[in-house]
């Protein structure tokens, strides 16, 4: 009988050998990745400053006791886009084949109530399904930026409350730290819904009056890594959402 330890310790990788990329090419790709991340962080930082600066400016001139967040957009003259362009690249980043539609169907197992678009809004959804899960991108337009902002702002505390209520339970929610580098506003949370380690990561990003929900199923991968992958794969869509911004691209 063969000794498994000998077998293991003499393990090698014969057969098909691949020629790794030159080190210079690996560094070039790494530098490109880093620049992209930095650019996104810079855009998010400017948006965050705008969001913070506006309430502070209003607080300085008003004694209002209204607890709802002040509008992020101070300009009443903006006309918010109410139709998703036909060529909007919603499926970008999703594995093929992708099924698209103009209605919303939740693709995740939400431990608590999650996000859903308002019933009257313009919605488009792109879904990749496999036998054990899948990934999706859903884009919804709100009448104004203010309404989109309120919807996402309200969901933050609700999700945090859900996370606190489900600590130590078999099904629970984690809210991941906001990295502040996605769109005008973002929220990322994880539904842990089975003993086997199945998770659904949900990333919500707002740009102007549009909210993108990007989701994916995962198992055996840390939630933070899965969230990083969701973010990576939705980057092109978030970039394209600039058409819904107050100052559109």
């Amino acid at each position: 009988m063969r000794d498994p330890l000998d077998e293991l310790e003499n393990f090698s990788t014969p057969g098909l050998t691949m020629n790794p990329l030159p080190a210079t090419e690996v560094r070039r790709r790494g530098t490109r990745l880093r620049r992209r991340n930095n650019a996104l962080a810079a855009i998010g930082g400017v948006a965050a400053v705008a969001i913070i600066a506006t309430p502070l400016a209003m607080a300085a001139t008003s004694k209002s006791t209204d607890t709802t967040p002040p509008p992020a957009n101070p300009s009443p003259s903006v006309t918010w886009v109410q139709e998703i362009p036909a060529d909007f690249p919603l499926a970008e980043g999703l594995p093929a084949p992708v099924r698209t539609g103009s209605s919303y169907e939740s693709q995740v197992t939400d431990v608590c109530a999650g996000w859903a678009p308002p019933s009257s809004s313009e919605v488009r959804q792109a879904v990749f399904r496999e036998s054990e899960g899948g990934s999706s991108h859903t884009l919804a337009l709100y009448p104004t930026e203010r309404e989109a902002e309120l919807a996402l702002t309200a969901l933050g505390p609700e999700t945090q409350a859900c996370a606190l209520q489900t600590v130590g339970k078999q099904r629970w929610v984690d809210v991941l730290p906001d990295q502040g580098d996605q769109g005008d506003q973002s929220l990322v949370y994880v539904n842990h819904y089975s003993d086997a380690g199945d998770i659904d990561v949900v990333q919500l990003v707002r740009v102007g009056n549009a909210i993108l929900e990007a989701t994916t199923y995962s198992n055996g991968v840390p939630a933070e890594d899965t969230a990083a992958l969701v973010k990576e794969q939705s980057t092109s869509v978030v970039d394209a959402m600039c058409v819904f911004a107050a100052d559109p691209c």
């Binding site: 393990f11 057969g15 050998t17 790494g30 990745l33 594995p95």
Partner: protein, 164 residues
């Protein structure tokens, strides 16, 4: 880590880490692609890598996490060509014993397989395996013990079948 140090690190460790990840996941192409991607991320996050006590462990862990992600597997088919590794070429075909070992490893529970590979192929002491995996040393010892026994049984079965 400057360019020269990174290049030296990459050249010295790419094949070794690829072999280890291959043993963990049983798919050579996937292992190579994930290790390549992990090195790209390593350069992008080189300040983090500088602070890592064991840069090779950082790359291996990143590559392994990439590899085990079902999500990643599903996007393989449409990954842009420039993300692939360099062109492949044929060398010696794997021996029957090698094929049998990889097949046996794939039948083990993931945690046992990971412990066996890190300890016996990556040659890490038990406490380093425990740190890399993020579990107590006792857990690693138990996984190694059960993994060796299971592997021996699987190889014996395979040997019996091939003799029959």
């Amino acid at each position: 880590m400057d360019e020269r140090e990174f290049d030296d690190f990459y050249t010295a460790s790419f094949q070794r880490i690829t072999g280890q990840v291959y043993a963990m996941i049983g798919n050579r192409d996937e292992a190579q692609e994930c290790v390549q991607e992990a090195f790209v991320r390593a350069w992008a996050h080189r300040r983090k890598l500088e602070k890592a006590e064991h840069p090779e462990a950082w790359v291996r862990t990143t590559a392994y996490r990439l590899a085990v992600s079902r999500w990643r597997r599903t996007v393989r088919g449409r990954r842009p060509a420039d993300r692939a590794v360099g062109p492949a070429y044929e060398s010696a075909a794997p021996s029957e014993a090698h094929v049998a070992l990889v097949a046996a490893l794939k039948q083990l529970p993931e945690a046992q397989r990971q412990a066996l590979v890190l300890h016996h192929i990556a040659d890490l002491p038990v406490h380093d395996v425990a740190r890399e995996v993020g579990v107590p040393e006792g857990t690693i010892k138990a996984r190694l013990s059960r993994g060796r026994a299971a592997l021996a049984a699987l190889l014996a079965d395979e040997e019996g079948l091939s003799h029959a």
